[in-house]
Subunit: 218 residues, 2 copies
């Protein structure tokens, strides 16, 4: 598949590499073509990898992944424009974290809204699926870094888009039984509001290589 990965940070590079490793053609997008990190990544990732602007990446992709910093995601997607996103699956893995002096990070949107919903509202013709935002990048693409079974959540309004994302998650090594569909895109609220708990668990355990397993009464 042709996949656009928007964002050149750890999450973007980790996802882009994992996709190339599985045979997908990936274009990494950033604010402007020629971004140093994107060029470096594409240079070492082989012939399936390329880089360009956010719009270049989204135009290239049959599916795109928003791996930009949550606070910058809407601006990045606006630079792509609605037309290039229309009808395509857009996986939103970002968290709207904002970092302030002194205190712990907070969310720039939460409670009665979410980044996932904001993106879906801004681009109503994109088929937005929230996924993978509840863990560190390495675990997203290599779930067996965390011992035992554990859970990845997805949500979105389009069932066929969620089916496509489920397929990608399986390529990353997620067993079908570990993938829980939480329903429509409003579930992005819960998935993003989990972040403050995740950050405290990281603090308490001393590692970000963690996840939660959902356990339900029979």
């Amino acid at each position: 598949m042709h996949i656009g990965v928007l964002g050149t940070g750890t999450v973007g590079r980790t996802l882009a590499q994992a996709l190339v490793d599985r045979g997908h053609e990936v274009r990494m997008g950033s604010r402007a073509a020629g971004n140093e990190k994107a060029v470096a990544w594409a240079g070492q990732a082989g012939p399936l990898a390329s880089e360009g602007s956010f719009a270049d990446a989204a135009a290239f992709g049959d599916l795109s992944i928003n791996a930009t910093a949550g606070a910058a995601s809407l601006e990045a997607l606006e630079s792509v424009g609605a037309e290039l996103l229309a009808g395509k699956v857009l996986i939103d893995v970002a968290n709207p974290l904002q970092f302030s002096e002194g205190g712990p990070p907070t969310l720039s949107v939460c409670n009665d809204d979410s980044l996932g919903e904001s993106i879906q509202r801004a681009f109503p013709e994109a088929r937005v699926v929230k996924a993978l935002n509840t863990m560190t990048a390495a675990v997203m693409v290599q779930p067996d870094l965390v011992p035992g079974a554990h859970t990845v959540f997805i949500c979105g309004d389009a069932m066929d888009a969620k089916a496509q994302v489920t397929g990608l998650l399986e390529e990353f090594g997620w067993p079908r039984a570990a993938i829980l569909d939480l329903g429509d895109i409003t579930a992005a609220r819960g998935m993003e509001m989990y972040l403050p708990l995740w950050l405290r668990i990281w603090g308490a355990t001393g590692t970000a290589v963690l996840n939660i397993e959902l356990r339900v009464a029979e």
Copy 2:
């Protein structure tokens, strides 16, 4: 131990009964002594059970549990007054859920504050421990309703208070290894902000008898 349970809802009654069952003397508190549900509970729960106002319950307890509705918790505790809470452990199991017409419940406080912190600020001499708010009442006191290992979080500023709460959790059947101390009371933000995710998991799985197990890389 003498324990005051503030609140007559499902959570309060479940906790009160579990404590009586383990030999504690419990006074259930409500807005005014003689509350119908509290009288009914105390009447069937035997000689270790009694009921009264919120202040009666807190005065009775060497330790108290806030099991009131989150939106009403500060008012309930104000009716108790700082003096009766000073120096005592106060376990806050409430969630600041507010229910609106049409939409999903939201939190009345979150992101840069929490109910747990609000209570600790309002009653600085109480030793507030947030615990058990991340699951349904039945699971709080009978963790084996959920199969396998799963996690209960606690947080608070006073280590000795958390040790005491850990002991109570063990009485309820929580193995020591399942109890994760997330640090000071500001971790109540994460514990409370998990609720929207928990509600969506309930919706997706069809049962509230669920919990999460924390899995961490070795």
